[in-house]
């Protein structure tokens, strides 16, 4: 059973800041981490391999430093890693990213399942996973919280929805995006880290993937980010007066009024 997991490097939210002038996320001098949702994807991929055999290939698109999250995937148990990296891809939106990743995955071939995190914590779109599936012409299931059964040609999964979950059977190859309820990502082992340190990361550029040079990066992206900003938080506080019992009564009625409870 061969699994492909897609990973993205994102700025550590603990350090992330928005440039007040340009309104964009400051990426310089900020620690980058593997998108937390992708960690669940890596873990699930490695678990499937451990149970059913096969291999796990981690794929990422981004600047050369994205290599770090691919090595992390290897430390956790992935067998191979591919980095799609090209200056021409800078500024790509989810459509172009999905096209490029789909091309890389197509080049790898021979896969049963592709796993992505539900979304990246920097862009929050959740579009890249489904986009890859569309480009590859395979079915996809988003927000998977559990894989109930998996075989070479089909799987049964639980898809998280607002008030519960759906049970979906899907033919393989397919793509799923996973939520954090699916597992608890392992801490990498020393041996895994040693292996990751020495691992050869395969790099592919736009030409290797025969991508149309006119439809790449910022200029090939139909989505343009006009402005990013931190919303101003307007909090109106109210201090309740009176004895504690009176205050409690007022508080309860206010909570009921505002439908908080």
């Amino acid at each position: 059973m061969n699994v492909i997991v897609c990973v993205k490097q994102v700025p550590d939210p603990a350090e992330a800041k928005i440039d007040k002038e340009t309104k964009t996320i400051v990426r310089e001098g900020v620690t980058n981490i593997t998108n937390p949702f992708d960690m669940y994807g890596i873990e699930e991929g490695v678990r499937i391999k451990e149970k059913n055999g096969g291999k796990v290939t981690a794929v990422s698109m981004g600047p050369p430093q994205s290599e770090k999250c691919l090595r992390e995937a290897i430390a956790m148990g992935a067998d191979e890693a591919i980095l799609v990296s090209d200056r021409a891809l800078a500024g790509s939106d989810t459509l172009v990213t999905a096209t490029a990743l789909a091309a890389a995955i197509d080049k790898v071939g021979d896969y049963h399942l592709i796993i992505c995190g539900r979304e990246a914590i920097d862009g929050d779109t959740g579009q890249t996973g489904p986009g890859i599936a569309e480009r590859l012409g395979i079915p996809h299931v988003t927000y998977v919280q559990k894989i109930r059964e998996i075989s070479e040609d089909k799987m049964i999964v639980e898809r998280m929805i607002e008030d519960g979950y759906q049970v979906i059977e899907v033919k393989l190859p397919a793509l799923i995006t996973v939520v954090k309820d699916i597992n608890e990502p392992r801490i990498p082992s020393l041996r895994g880290m040693m292996k990751a340190k020495k691992a050869n990361i395969i790099t592919m550029n736009a030409q290797d993937l025969s991508l149309d040079p006119d439809n790449l990066g910022l200029k090939g992206s139909p989505t343009q980010v006009i402005r990013q900003f931190t919303p101003e938080i307007v909090r109106k506080g109210e201090v309740l007066e009176g004895e504690p019992t009176e205050q409690a009564a007022v508080l309860v009625s206010k909570l009921l009024q505002t439908r908080v409870v």
Partner: protein, 385 residues
């Protein structure tokens, strides 16, 4: 301070730090309260290969040494030294086999310690034999192909949790300390049982129990070294493992300083953070000076041992004394900086203060360590004459 660790050592330290932060810190207060043995954390340490960092590769380890082990202990101890000592005591139990075991004994017992499948423990102390290890009463009598053990070992870290025990017992009462021998005893051996779990002031996540031997028969192949070498096995083992206690103490002290520094920057009195008061600043500075000095001595000692020095009893004792005395002082100061909050269980520093005390006591009290240091100095001076 920059200690120029190798890339592997940094990897080990960072991994231990990650586990301490993500797996130990969130449960440290709870483990302290319940005294539950941290199997879940030890399993994470096992899966991440950290149980074998000091064990040679041929026995399934990572091939590092005392420094690697100390780095792990220090990081774990920053979060919870009860967890750290449970990890370190497995080293204490397995070093006698690594140092004095035959190839067969090493092949039989070490790989499962390296993988973290088994914990080890070390049994030396008895009710009437603490600092005076020579007053030991547990006996081992040879009977054909076996030894028969009788007696009780007290305050044994990992007692009952460990699978492999190295135990010192008297084989010839007439020879004094040269009449002791070291044995490997497996959990489950008939006649080998455990006393109740001790209720301790600190390091409460670790388990401390009696080892009770009642006509416990063990195969003669389980003798470590030769008969009569028990005292040497114990002393040489402790020379290698005392830096681990120093690392534990150092971890507690570093954790306390970090907590105190963060608190001092946040806590406001008289309209400003208390970190802006010179009285607090000087306390923080003194804490940092002592910690860095203890760390420098510890890392130097660990490197000395790992580089193949022949005798390191003195340095090993020195780093243990310094780090444990520093841990006690620094944690008391950390509680002081926290003020009333520091005395409350909602904050981590009172636990650190309780945890620190044991490091001045076990694996040889600091008074016994000073004896060792002075005796070594006198011996060295006499040799020069």
């Amino acid at each position: 301070m920059e200690y120029f660790l190798t890339e592997e050592q940094e990897m080990i330290r960072d991994l231990a730090r990650k586990i301490a932060k993500e797996k130990v810190e969130p449960v440290a207060a709870e483990l302290d309260e319940t005294g539950e043995f941290p199997w879940e954390i030890l399993n994470v340490l096992a899966e991440s290969d950290l149980c074998g960092v000091y064990i040679p590769e041929e026995y399934g380890g990572f091939g590092g040494g005392v420094l690697e082990q100390c780095l792990v202990v220090e990081e774990l101890s920053k979060a919870c030294s009860g967890v750290a000592v449970s990890y370190a005591a497995s080293g204490l139990g397995s070093f006698p086999i690594l140092l004095f075991g035959t190839e067969e004994q090493k092949q039989k017992y070490i790989p499962s310690v390296a993988s973290g499948k088994s914990l080890a423990a070390f049994g030396l102390t008895e009710a009437n034999a603490g600092s005076d290890a020579g007053a030991m009463e547990t006996t081992a009598v040879k009977d054909g192909d076996h030894y028969i053990l009788n007696g009780t070992k007290q305050w044994i870290t990992n007692g009952g949790e460990a699978d492999i025990y190295t135990v010192i017992a008297v084989t010839d009462k007439t020879k004094g300390s040269r009449g002791n021998s070291a044995f490997i005893v497996e959990k489950g051996t008939p006649g080998f049982t455990f006393g109740k779990k001790e209720n301790k002031m600190g390091i409460r996540a670790s388990t401390t129990r009696e080892l009770i031997f009642q006509d416990c028969r063990i195969p003669k192949e389980n003798l470590l070294g030769r008969e009569g070498m028990g005292f040497i096995v114990a002393m040489k083992t402790l020379d290698v493992t005392r830096p681990g206690i120093a690392a534990q103490a150092l971890g507690i002290a570093s954790g306390a300083l970090e907590a105190a520094l963060n608190y001092a920057r946040e806590r406001r009195q008289f309209g400003q953070p208390i970190a802006s008061f010179q009285a607090i600043q000087h306390m923080l500075a003194d804490m940092a000076i002592q910690i860095e000095a203890a760390r420098a001595l510890l890392y130097s000692t660990a490197r000395m041992i790992d580089s193949g020095a022949k005798n390191y009893s003195k340095e090993s004792s020195m780093c243990k004394v310094l780090a444990s005395d520093v841990a006690m002082k620094v944690t008391v100061d950390a509680v002081q900086i926290f003020g009333g909050y520091g005395y409350m269980k909602e904050y981590p520093v009172e636990k650190m203060m309780r945890d620190a005390k044991i490091t001045q006591i076990y694996e040889g009290t600091n008074q016994i360590q000073r004896n060792i240091i002075a005796l070594e100095m006198i011996k060295e001076a006499a040799r020069k004459r």
